[in-house]
């Protein structure tokens, strides 16, 4: 089974702040990490490989330093890693990003399943995964919490999957090749082995530019991005209110009084 995992290097968002004086993003000291949801995608790919053999290829689009995220994926056990990096990709929104990644995946060749995290924690859009499936014209199943089984019917392989919904989950069937986005519940990611870490240091990262993947320059970067950010600002921080101390019974009575009208 040829498995492709799309990952993204993101800033550890809990630390990102706007400097109120200069109105700039404070980036110093903000660590870059592999998007947490993508860790579940990598793990699920490794498990599929353990069940069905095959190859796990990890791909990301980003600046040259995104290579670190790919090396982390290799340390976990990915076979191959591809970095799509080109000035032309700069400023891509989700439409352009999904096009660029889809172009990269096309170049990889025959692929049975593409796995993405349900969303990235910096932008939180959840749009790139579904976008890739449209560019590649393959079916998608989002918010997958379990890959139950693979069945073969009339020469086509089908995944039977559980996907999360607001009320619980539903069971769906999707033919291969398809694209899955996965939620946290799907697995417990492993930690890298010593051997994996050694391998990741030496591993060669494949680097492709926009031209290498035959990407139409009009469809990537700013030109390929219909959306534009016009303003960035800090949300009004939530203010703390009253803090009550005392005996439990007394506190309960006071709180009850305060919540009158709201409950």
């Amino acid at each position: 089974m040829n498995i492709v995992v799309c990952i993204k290097q993101v800033p550890d968002t809990t630390n990102v702040r706007i400097n109120p004086e200069t109105n700039t993003l404070i980036r110093e000291g903000v660590q870059s990490i592999v998007n947490p949801f993508d860790m579940y995608a990598i793990e699920e790919a490794l498990r599929l490989r353990e069940r069905f053999q095959g190859k796990v290829t990890v791909i990301t689009m980003g600046p040259p330093q995104a290579e670190a995220a790919l090396r982390e994926a290799i340390s976990l056990g990915a076979d191959e890693a591809i970095l799509l990096s080109d000035r032309a990709f700069g400023g891509s929104d989700t439409l352009a990003t999904s096009y660029a990644l889809a172009s990269g995946i096309k170049k990889i060749g025959q692929v049975d399943v593409i796995i993405c995290g349900k969303q990235a924690i910096d932008g939180d859009t959840a749009q790139v995964g579904p976008g890739i499936s449209v560019w590649l014209d393959i079916p998608q199943v989002t918010f997958v919490k379990k890959i139950e089984d693979v069945e073969e019917k009339k020469g086509t392989k089908y995944f039977r999957l559980e996907r999360m919904t607001e009320e619980g989950h539903e069971v769906v069937e999707a033919p291969l090749p398809c694209l899955l986005t996965v939620v946290k519940e799907i697995n417990e990611p492993r930690i890298p082995s010593l051997k994996g870490m050694m391998r990741s240091k030496k591993a060669e990262i494949i680097k492709w530019t926009a031209a290498d993947v035959d990407a139409d320059p009009k469809k990537v970067g700013l030109d390929g991005s219909p959306t534009q950010v016009v303003r960035i600002f800090s949300p009004t921080p939530r203010q703390g209110g009253q803090v009550l101390t005392g005996e439990a019974a007394e506190l309960a009575a006071k709180l009850c009084e305060l919540l009158k009208g709201a409950l």
Partner: protein
């Protein structure tokens, strides 16, 4: 590069340097230089320059005949034939946008034997309801729903399309937007119209809620957004409001699906869906065990609330993941959020800090949760909650 500095116009005033949110501009020999590795081409510097020395180069040939696009559309998400409450919120917000644009507010209702529900959308302000019935639309499936919506948008050309940022909305709309090669802004918490240019201003949190961004889609139509549930006000019911129901001939729309829906299973433990709940009682590591969560459940039941949990409580196995609130769980915004034995790590706060009222119960007076709590109770939750249940029952 699309942002360029015209060197002989730049006077070295450094205004752009201060305007750049990404620290991507440096002064070299008294001239602004843009660092392409940091620049995201947001255009903030273009507006800041008093000397027209910075400009944003755009591709002209991407412009669609945008004048052809009219009306504000709301995707009327339904499950088992019931229109979801987020749709009424979208109609409430959509009405304001439609009035500002002097256009119609329309709803699109897709499903099987669903026509009778259309009048509910009209009562909530829709001027037109497009209805498409097909057995392939009985259960939600990405492909036929996306095909139906894409074809209707191509035919009727709305200017704005709004959808709830629900599981369905966030699976469906990215497909439609890519099919139409237009822009889509996810999980908006604020929408408005830029009076001057008539554009939809879409405001949303980014970086886990630490930053807000306003996004536009100037050259492509429709302008599409998914909108966070429980942020906008529901449209009031007006039985007198008149609207037109437009039935789409199923033969005119091509629908297929490669994936198949087999069954849906409702989580029994989850009596109330936390994303929908008006009251949430959440527990953290401080609850101590799955058994102890019963104290929270009892309290939640007495006030009609749903049960939430912090990541610590989920990872310790006290509660299933479907109850997790926070960065890697669900984002909620109930009227009242009770945080019991939750310290208030930033990853948790980003998932609940837009709640109307936050009540924190924690033994540790220094817990960060008290910094965001409307009412902070320093005490033992196992003592406070039973008293609180009793107090509330008195009424």
């Amino acid at each position: 590069m699309a942002i360029e500095v015209i060197e002989n116009k730049c006077v070295g005033c450094t205004m752009c340097l201060r305007s750049c949110p990404f620290g991507a501009i440096e002064m070299v020999n008294n001239v602004a230089v843009i660092n392409p590795d940091k620049c995201v081409q947001c255009g903030a510097c273009v507006d800041s320059c008093k000397f027209d020395a910075i400009f944003l180069r755009k591709h002209e040939d991407v412009v669609a005949p945008i004048e052809d696009f009219q009306d504000v559309w709301v995707f009327a998400e339904q499950k088992k034939g019931v229109i979801q409450s987020v749709v009424y919120e979208l109609l409430g917000e959509g009405k304001k946008l439609a009035q500002k644009r002097k256009q119609n507010l329309c709803a699109v209702l897709l499903g099987d034997k669903i026509k009778a529900e259309a009048k509910k959308l009209i009562e909530r302000g829709a001027d037109k309801v497009y209805v498409l019935e097909s057995s392939l639309l009985k259960e939600y499936l990405d492909e036929p729903y996306a095909q139906a919506l894409t074809q209707l948008i191509k035919k009727y050309k709305p200017e704005i399309v709004l959808t709830g940022a629900t599981t369905i909305g966030r699976s469906l709309i990215p497909r439609v937007a890519v099919e139409l090669k237009t822009g889509l802004t996810a999980d908006c918490t604020g929408l408005d119209i830029d009076e001057e240019r008539g554009l939809l201003l879409q405001t949303r949190p980014a970086f886990g809620g630490n930053i807000m961004a306003t996004i536009i889609c100037p050259n492509q139509r429709p302008q599409m957004s998914t909108v966070r549930h429980k942020v906008m006000k529901e449209a009031e019911i007006d039985k007198k409001h008149k609207g037109e129901i437009i039935e789409i001939d199923p033969a005119s729309v091509k629908l297929t699906s490669r994936t198949a829906f087999l069954k849906s299973i409702e989580d029994v433990a989850e009596t109330v869906n936390i994303a929908e709940a008006d009251i949430i009682v959440s527990g953290g590591r401080g609850v101590g065990s799955a058994e102890n969560f019963k104290v929270l459940e009892k309290f939640a039941k007495s006030i009609g609330g749903a049960i939430g949990a912090s990541r610590a409580a989920v990872d310790s196995g006290f509660m299933p993941y479907s109850h997790q609130v926070g960065q890697t769980g669900k984002t909620v915004c109930p009227k009242i959020y009770f945080a019991c034995g939750i310290s208030g790590q930033i990853q948790h706060l980003v998932g609940m800090q837009s709640s109307d009222i936050i009540v924190a119960i924690n033994k540790d007076p220094d817990a960060p949760i008290f910094k965001v709590a409307t009412y902070g109770i320093v005490g033992d939750l196992f003592e406070v909650l039973p008293h609180l249940t009793k107090e509330l029952q008195k009424k």
